[in-house]
């Protein structure tokens, strides 16, 4: 049952590369949050009920509800709706995404290690590369935040692979989510747009040589 969910997660990553509307970005983040919630529930059923409840509730509340809600709020407040036309085209993004997928699959195949759940590892690596592609290729700060959240989700997915033995690691990953994502989204929401009036990363060039 986990495999179809992971497959859906991979498809959401591919879609992330080609979509240009920010509402779609936020919706995909919500979908990934719910998928991760379901995967965590199935994967971690062997750990103590208290820890499982803590992880599940935090994943659902935070990744499935709070972060998407904040993203939608940012879209409403800033009035930005899509990536800039000066950014890369959909075709180029798709090409890079497929390249990232092939790279992840190849590395996973080459590792062939019995100590790791290779499906989780491969998808986490793909999420990492997808997030980096989004950060590097898109010009708006909002896209960069979505790229960061994509990397976070990938890290969380891989932490569930070894979380049965080490629930502490999953809790640490969730804490990272809560602290950094909320802080960054909050900072963007309250400070960046008001003080710099910049939804464009190209405008963040005051601090340079």
């Amino acid at each position: 049952m986990i495999l179809p969910l992971i497959l859906l997660y991979v498809i959401s990553l591919v879609y992330l590369a080609i979509t240009e509307r920010f509402r779609n970005f936020a919706s995909i983040m919500a979908l990934q949050g719910w998928l991760l919630f379901a995967i965590a529930l199935m994967r971690l059923h062997a750990i103590s009920p208290a820890e499982l409840t803590f992880i599940a509730v935090e994943t659902l509340l935070f990744k499935g509800i709070l972060v998407p809600a904040l993203l939608f709020a940012v879209i409403r407040k800033t009035g930005i709706s899509r990536v800039k036309s000066s950014g890369t085209s959909q075709f180029q993004s798709l090409l890079l995404s497929v390249a990232a997928l092939v790279t992840s699959a190849s590395v996973t195949y080459l590792i062939a290690d019995s100590t790791t759940d290779l499906v989780f590892f491969g998808v986490a690596l793909y999420a990492l590369l997808s997030g980096l592609v989004l950060i590097v290729m898109r010009s708006r700060i909002f896209s960069h935040m979505v790229g960061f959240l994509t990397i976070e989700n990938g890290v969380f997915l891989f932490s569930t692979a070894i979380g049965v033995e080490m629930p502490l690691l999953i809790n640490a990953a969730i804490l990272l989510d809560i602290l950094m994502s909320v802080l960054m989204l909050g900072m963007f929401f309250t400070k960046i747009d008001r003080k710099i009036h910049a939804d464009d990363a190209d405008s963040l060039t005051r601090v340079k040589d």
């Binding site: 590395v107 590792i111 062939a112 790791t116 590892f121 960061f148 990397i151 960054m184 963040l204 040589d209």
Partner: protein, 467 residues
Amino acid sequence: MILYLIASIAVASAAFVVRSRRALYAAGLLFYAVQIALLGALCWGGLAGTRHAGGLFVFDAPGTLFYLLLTVVSLYAFHHSEAYLKESRFNHLRTYTGLLLLLTTAIAGAYFADNLALTWVFLEATTLCSAGLIYYRRTAPALEAAWKYLFVCSTGIAMAYLGILLLASATRGESLGYEAVATALTASNPLYLKIAFLLILCGYSCKMELFPLYTVGVDANFAAPAPASALISTGLVNAGFLAILRIYRLYASTEVFGWVRGVLLIAGLLSLAVGALFLRRTNNYKRFLSYSTVENMGIAAIGLGIGGAGVWAAVFHVVCHTFVKSSLFLQMGVVRQVYDGYRINRLGDYMRINRVGAVGLLIGMVALVAFPPSPLFVSELMILSEAAAAERWWVLAAILLLTCIVIYSFCARMIRLCYQPNQDQLHPSGVDKALSWSALSLLAIALVMGLWQPALLQRIITEIATL
């Protein structure tokens, strides 16, 4: 250790809510009393070498040495901040002080953590504290620098976490203690180990101010007040160095250790190159000193990459760099009092305005470009000798060439500040020569270490460098 963390966090938190400058200063003094009490317990109370909190913390040689340096630099930063920010609004000042104390605590936690995940947690905590310090002035450039710092560090630290998870899976869920992981790694898949190392090095490079994520450190030092920059550019950078050194030691018994050293060598050379080239390009003295940090961390990484005596030299280099760089950043704080800015092409005549400060900058220049009796001369000479002994001539040639650029840039810019005619207006607040003397005292410690390295220090560094 838990007691130390509770006491430090409690006192640091008290700084956020005090109602007068006097109470704020008292909170700071109480905080440093806690730090000195821990140092006393480490040196004379039999704490050294012990484990705490179920093996999560260890008071080992590297942690203790770097903690000593941290306490000294943080105390100086606190003292200078009091004078440097005396005209600031009180609520801003108390937030700044609270964050400075919390940053010191988080760095100390990272030094003593004996667990991969815990090291990561404390390094993440330093990101939060540093971002607050960077945003202190609440200007648009400060916000931009804080945003970039937060974003890049978070992305980097998430990558590092993925690397840690990879190492965790190699231990099959046993433990994330450094010793347990080191034992488990000997039988792990080489490609797996390489990916984990690359992810961790990339992630922690934003803390160590090393290639590839060195840029955020430069921006952070530029935007933060000078005393905070002194702490970020030394104590926090040392935390990144120590985290990478601990990972380096984990890999020492694996078959990919040669590859790891090669990666560190390349990262070090690229950092040295970036630092050397941007020292010529930048027009801001604080960014200038930050690029010097990138260059020096590059030299330390080269030392680790070369191995052998290079590891000893790398640790010694970082220890001495802490005194020299913090002294120069604190001197820059005084420079700002005089000129109200850091523009390289405008400032001059500093020798006439503040002779003590100018002498401090010139001695700092001599120390940073590694002229004898600078302690960095000792470490750089050891690294060059080791490169020659290993017949790595291209490394030797690259270091020498890039070091020449560094020397030229440093001499040209520091002499310009001291002797060229000034083209900027002077700030009415004038010069606080006591601060210049205070910063000079840190430099004096570094120069003494260049002439004479105590046997105890040599023994501790040898213990740290033994793989």
